[in-house]
């Protein structure tokens, strides 16, 4: 057993971290928000040039042919800086959906363009409040009808992968049958849209029964992103209390603060360990993936939630200002907490992955 990232993976993480720290400091995020930008397009181009967008995609489709764990390392670094790029939409969900369920022709056409960054895809599954069932759109005879909302990154995407019941379909967004309406996004660095399909031309991804696997694989990547965000919050909170003086001594010297941040650190380490296992299992032990992904998902959201909240808390009043940096993560965490289904949904998936304990939620 060797349960650590390889030296190459550590180098990949360092490379990504170095680039992202330079390109996307917090003031840059503030500028993006103030200018109403849809995304950080130059950063996206650069990530494409570096090969990061195709880390786990086979070389025949323009990727680097690395593992899910390598992709996880990149997700973690993107989470750390709260980058404003459609990585989760276009790569983790849409490209993976095409890879899992697309025909050879669809893979050959779209994967190289997605991993170069030339084409951006969004992934449309939610249909308003409540659980994600994909029931309210209809796909028949090559035409898609109905509404998906909200859909992240739909403003900049050229194509959408749409969940229609148990099927996945591919839709070109620049067509008469598609209407995009921008929504107010709680995560100010990830715009969301409503998509109305009025008999839009669409094509089926022919693979069936892949949605569950797609969700599991995405949950592992979301866990890595949450771990990266959690680590950033812990570092920020720790650095702030180390500097701040209160009642004649360092704020960091108070046990109430130390214990709070120690608990944050424990949560992150446990979540990271689950994410590592999920990343490993996604490639090397796929039978374990459903349980591993659900455990990673549950523990990562719990850890990031605690980190984001307590980071703002230890900052005190300054944490409530736009000039401080806590809010980026405080908002992003809520988005990650709901993007693939909530806690109850993943609790069910974890329990259902245990032998002999299948039950249904009341």
């Amino acid at each position: 057993m060797d349960f650590d990232l390889s030296d190459e993976q550590k180098m990949l993480a360092e490379q990504a971290r170095g680039l992202l720290a330079e390109r996307t400091p917090f003031d840059h995020l503030r500028k993006l928000i103030d200018s109403g930008a849809e995304w950080d397009e130059p950063l996206w181009r650069e990530l494409g040039e570096m090969g990061f967008l195709g880390a786990n995609v086979p070389e025949q489709f323009g990727g680097l042919g690395l593992s899910e764990l390598d992709l996880g390392v990149i997700s973690q670094e993107l989470g750390r800086v709260n980058a404003s790029v459609p990585f989760f939409s276009s790569i983790i969900l849409a490209a993976d959906a095409i890879r899992l369920a697309g025909s050879e022709a669809q893979k050959t056409e779209w994967l190289p363009k997605l991993v170069s960054g030339e084409v951006v895809a969004c992934f449309a599954s939610a249909e308003g409040p409540g659980p994600i069932l994909g029931q309210k759109v209809e796909f028949s005879g090559g035409a898609l009808k109905g509404t998906k909302s909200p859909v992240a990154d739909a403003g900049i995407a050229q194509i959408a992968i749409v969940q229609a019941g148990a099927s996945l379909v591919l839709v070109m967004l620049e067509q008469a049958g598609v209407e995009r309406t921008k929504l107010e996004s709680f995560d100010q660095l990830r715009p969301h849209y409503r998509l109305d399909f009025n008999a839009a031309q669409a094509e089926l991804l022919p693979g069936t029964g892949q949605i569950s696997t797609l969700l599991d694989r995405a949950a592992v990547q979301a866990a890595f992103e949450a771990v990266g965000g959690g680590e950033a919050c812990l570092q920020m909170g720790r650095d702030y209390v180390m500097e701040r003086q209160m009642f004649g001594r360092s704020l960091a010297s108070y046990q109430a603060i130390k214990h709070k941040l120690a608990d944050v650190a424990v949560g992150i380490e446990l979540a990271k360990s689950n994410a590592y296992y999920g990343g490993w299992a996604a490639g090397a032990s796929v039978d374990d993936l459903p349980g591993a992904a659900a455990a990673a998902r549950l523990s990562a959201i719990k850890a990031f939630e605690n980190a984001a909240r307590e980071n703002l808390q230890v900052h005190g009043g300054i944490g409530y200002t736009f000039e401080a940096n806590c809010h980026f993560y405080y908002r992003r965490e809520r988005m990650l907490a709901v993007i693939l289904g909530n806690r109850g949904f993943w609790a069910d998936r974890l329990l259902n992955a245990q032998p002999g304990t299948q039950g249904k939620a009341a």
Binding site: M1, F3, A295
Partner: protein
């Protein structure tokens, strides 16, 4: 990264499994049956003897010391395989192998290593820990048990004081003992480490009546106990460093237990609920069990990361404390939840109920898991200070000679 065994580990696992299949069943305890502590200790020794004769005792100790000179990874493989059997293992043997031997191996001299290591690996010598005192628990260095050198030229030491929480002190052969030998220097600097034969005149152990109803812990009174200087481990004044070696063994050894989520899942899945279905259909129950299970899995993989660090020669330091910190609270929560699922029966089960008494015991015993081997609060301090680099606690007594402290 590879969670699976290496070819070498896999071969070792087969070897271990084969040997255990032939030798472990005869030593197994019957689940749910309580046996007297004297018998438990005797069976513990017998299992140690079996392990030693089969070449499975002291796996990580050098061959020169009577061990097998293997890596930590292989020791983990063996303990996983051994854990499949319900064997008489407990503090009566693990204090020896996990605490006494590491400190003797590291701080002792060749003569001491020859005297104590192999007999302990054979089960001939068992050990208790004489560290904590009524006024020195988390603040161990505040201990007051005193050793004074005799002036008769023998070099012997005379020890007086009181120790507490010494597991199995009434049934073990020897103790590891830390005492104050110099009160004129600050508290950490005046300590010295000894091994002591528990049959030495002047040692009296009294069982502590615990909230679990059991009495595996003791108070140990030392009155004019004469200890030869040859029993001193390390230099005079080196006691604190020895304690740190012991406590590191305690940290790395703790928390390798399951917190009881899986039996509870099985129970909930099989038990009808009031309004049809099973208890596992209940949303609140599902949520709590799933969160605990996710944490338990994370802890298992975190331990795998720690073991990987150790196998690469890195020291996990205070990171290791995270395991017990998370485990102990989860153990308390899960056993508490188990009692709720059991209903009022959890308070007064009928005779013959073999499930509820375990839940009750776990709920009671989980309290000591949060205190022993580094209390939650101590571990949080250590994580904050050593992992996050935050300031240490204010230590009013740090540079003050011990005798001047109030």
């Amino acid at each position: 990264m590879d969670f699976n065994d290496t070819p070498q580990e896999a071969a070792f696992r087969v070897e271990a499994r084969t040997w255990l299949a032939a030798h472990a069943p005869a030593h197994e305890l019957q689940p749910g049956v309580t046996i007297p502590d004297t018998e438990e200790a005797a069976r513990g020794r017998a299992w140690m003897r079996e392990l030693y004769e089969g070449g499975w005792s002291g796996l990580t100790f050098s061959k020169a010391l009577g061990g097998r000179g293997l890596s930590g990874a292989e020791a983990v493989v063996f303990s996983e395989e051994e854990g499949r059997y319900h064997l008489p293992k407990g503090p009566f043997t693990s204090i020896g192998t996990g605490m006494a031997l590491p400190v003797i191996a590291k701080h002792g001299n060749d003569e001491q290593r020859a005297l104590y290591v192999e007999p302990t690996l054979k089960g001939d010598l068992t050990w208790c820990q004489l560290f904590s005192e009524p006024a020195a628990g988390s603040d161990l260095a505040a201990l007051r048990t005193k050793a004074v050198r005799t002036d008769d030229g023998s070099g012997d030491w005379i020890v007086n004081g009181q120790k507490v929480w010494s597991s199995w002190a009434h049934l073990t052969d020897w103790g590891i003992l830390v005492v104050r030998t110099d009160a004129s220097v600050p508290k950490h600097k005046g300590l010295t480490f000894f091994v002591v034969d528990m049959k030495t005149p002047g040692i009296e152990t009294r069982p502590i009546r615990q909230i679990s109803g059991a009495s595996e812990f003791n108070e140990t009174f030392l009155t004019d106990v004469r200890i030869p200087d040859a029993n001193r481990i390390g230099a005079v004044g080196e006691g604190w460093a020895c304690c740190m070696t012991v406590l590191m063994g305690e940290r790395l050894g703790s928390g390798a237990h399951r917190s009881g989520v899986e039996p509870l899942l099985d129970y909930a899945a099989k038990t009808p609920a009031a309004h049809g279905g099973t208890m596992l259909d209940d949303r609140a129950v599902r949520q709590q069990l799933a969160e605990a299970l996710a944490e338990e899995q994370g802890e298992r993989f975190f331990q795998a990361r720690l073991r990987t660090m150790v196998s690469k020669g890195e020291n996990p330091g205070a990171l290791a404390g995270m395991v017990k910190l998370a485990y102990a609270s989860r153990y308390q929560k899960v056993s508490g939840l188990g009692m709720e699922l059991r209903g009022l029966d959890a308070i007064a089960p009928e005779a013959g109920d073999t499930f509820t008494p375990d839940l009750q015991y776990d709920y009671i015993y989980s309290t000591v898991m949060r205190i022993a081997g580094g209390a939650d609060e101590v571990l949080r301090n250590q994580i904050a200070e050593r992992v996050l680099g935050m300031p240490g606690e204010v230590r009013m007594d740090k540079d003050v000679p011990f005798e001047q402290l109030k």
